[in-house]
Symmetry: D2
Subunit: 251 residues, 4 copies
């Protein structure tokens, strides 16, 4: 498992600050704590401690999916992993399933979905070419091969049939309800992420109870704790809200 | 995709009540709303509406992983999917990775981990033979083949090396810290689920900062909403606490 | 401070179960743990331990306002003290102020408001005579003399002028916005409690920014902890939602 | 009710920014939005709109208790009103009661307690002379006359007897448990605010169940909502934790 040129690596300092690099692209990494000669890393193994010229230590490892998503170029409104992982808990999404997604944004949700369903496929609808290109770049660089991104408006319709999940991050998810019904297999799930409650209300209003079951809206609130010398307590400041997540299952 | 004898199916009534059956094992399903003749289901397709002799309608579909976990025989303290899915968000766990887990309980977490890492392997340590047998039965019946359950005490040590995740649901996780350090690859994660804060404090005290990074304790609180004729609001009663989840990453 | 006939007393057993009695009204109290002879309590002092004929011990004290509200006859939707006490935190309500309230319900909020503003007055609007009568009985029995309850519809108008607080627990608070503006002194507050978010949205839509300032909607979530032999943790089940509280201040 | 020299006034701009002044102390108020001639305010009534020389409008009103606490000089760790108002909800504190408090800090909790119990008395123990002086100044300037601050260590004992509430904001509340028992009347309450859970655990360990009842630890989490053009949602960032509040009642 020695590090080779062309591999993507993660360097983490003692306070948790991370740098993601590709070996061979540059000769040096300039950090807040000094310079690292990257050539020294070739041939070393995960866990190797690289030292800057000022003596700061960085652990070198292979990044995982979440490291990659953390460090890739993202749009401001990206769905967080705490939320997107609730898709698995609420739909049983797993390997071999097929997903339709819209809009793709920077591809963070796409990458997680691709990783879960592989060798299944994730087909993403996106109307903004700049977002589609950013997502394609992020996904290709990660090495993911089961993603298809279409420059197409999902409000106009869904081409795919018999899919296991339709995952939406759109301002008007209620416009996709009927299309999702046509695209999903019986027992398949609709997922929609919305920042505001008005969007949730409109989505619910569009879900006929003859067509859908297990309709459910949740919020996932993650509370982080800190243990300091003084004692243990939840962090003073927290993310109070990211969005509402609505699930529905085709009858 | 017509239903065949020997297949496991899910029947869901109009209020969401679920029954899980295996076609061919019994001829009738007796429900709160009357009897269903199961032979009628053979040859039908997912989405078929089975009707009881009293006229209640059930949709018939294949169960997914979460349906299966919901309906299988479980121990009272089983980690919920809202929590276990946070492992993915915090460790980047994905296909091909290898996991060590203890204790296995009824196998609910094992099943989720197996589903995510396939074709990687999940090795579970459990000291109670009755729990190990229940978990093996649940996992085998689901059709999962990448699980190994050992009747062995993880407090005594971990045999595996270079694993990506050590996942603990134990009263004294602090006894496994050193073993986990030996078992994990650099950059691999320790996960521990604990109902009480005293367990979290002891676990933190056992994690030397020279060996571990990204040490983090979270709670995942899921708040469910209901939209009724009167209006939309969070449910009056909610699950206030399941457990604390601690993550640490081998330096 | 010896207990006298006619006084209202609280008896609390070892598990926290409470009985509220008036000395002299009955000769015996029949509890789940046996009978207490109430005549024995006369002349005793707060902290006295009354023993049932089966040996169960009850502490005898004078009830405070919250004990009284807990034991008085209430309607199901009564605003909880965790919520109503936020009025003080957000409006600075204190002794000498004057309040208009609607609807009165069973008088729980009225009693708290009366207790805070005394010698100020709380004027309550209520359209249901049965509620008004129940509230009057509860308030009179507590011994509160600064409450006036009117059988009048606040949607039609508010007679009072220059009040410090208008407190609403009504299905359509947006119908009172204009009346409240006329009744409040500059710097006085509007408070509205609503179970659903649609009510909050309608109320906000009715508040012109030229007339109101410090418009704010909050939820107050109280999380209770338990320390058992196993350790310390939040209670498993909790009240997830009671209502939204909106505050606005007359410009 | 015309404004007179010597009165404390609050000026609030269109965005909610507040200034607290005493009429007659200065001739001008310099704000971010220009200068206000304060002499113009004399003789005006609450609700008067003062205009800066640049045209920014400020409403002029009398400050209430919470305005005063917001603007007075405070220490960083001051208990927030959302928390201190829970004392009322959990102890039934009201006018005429007597309270012992420690430590006094900047006097914010003292002011709230004084306001509630008046004409009862709040006796505060504080060992730091600078804090005691700051609190005395804040309390005197507000015009509160039922506060007594002692330069005395409450860990050494409590002089008062038969009090209704002992309210603690101290690093080691467990050192006051026995003293509180001696000071409280039967049915009186102990309240303790602690930022960390270890303090809560030690306090619980010091409370004998033969002496105390209704032992309870809570957190009060206030979630604020915002209604913007896009829609309604909880604020993105929130205060995740201030402290744990423990209540116990003398048996």
């Amino acid at each position: 498992m020695a590090f080779k040129e062309g591999e993507r690596l993660l360097l983490i300092d003692e306070k948790g600050k991370k740098f993601m690099i590709t070996l061979g692209e540059r000769s040096q990494l300039h950090t807040h704590g000094g310079v690292i000669e990257l050539a020294d890393i070739v041939g070393k193994e995960p866990g190797y401690k690289a030292i800057t010229h000022k003596g700061l230590e960085f652990v070198v490892i292979y990044p995982n999916l979440m490291d990659y998503i953390e460090k890739m170029r993202k749009l401001p409104q990206t769905i967080q992993a705490k939320d997107s992982s609730q898709i698995i808990a609420n739909t049983g999404l797993c390997h071999g399933m097929n997903v339709v997604e819209a809009g793709v944004g920077s591809g963070a949700l796409t990458l997680l979905l691709c990783s879960i369903v592989e060798p299944g496929t994730v087909t993403s609808y996106e109307i903004r070419e700049d977002f589609a290109n950013l997502a394609r770049k992020n996904i290709r660089e990660y090495g993911c091969t089961n993603s298809v991104i279409k420059l197409q408006d999902i409000y106009e319709g869904i081409d795919e049939k018999d899919v296991d999940l339709v995952a939406l991050d759109l301002p008007e998810p209620e416009k996709v309800t009927e299309h999702a019904l046509g695209a999903l297999r019986p027992g398949g799930h609709l997922f929609s992420f919305s920042p505001t409650i008005e969007q949730v209300i409109r989505l619910h209003d569009s879900l006929r109870y003859s067509d859908w079951m297990e309709v459910k809206t949740i919020e996932c609130i993650v509370r982080e704790y800190e243990k300091k010398r003084m004692g243990t307590r939840p962090k003073t400041l927290m993310v109070g809200h990211t969005g509402y997540m609505t699930f529905a299952r085709k009858r």
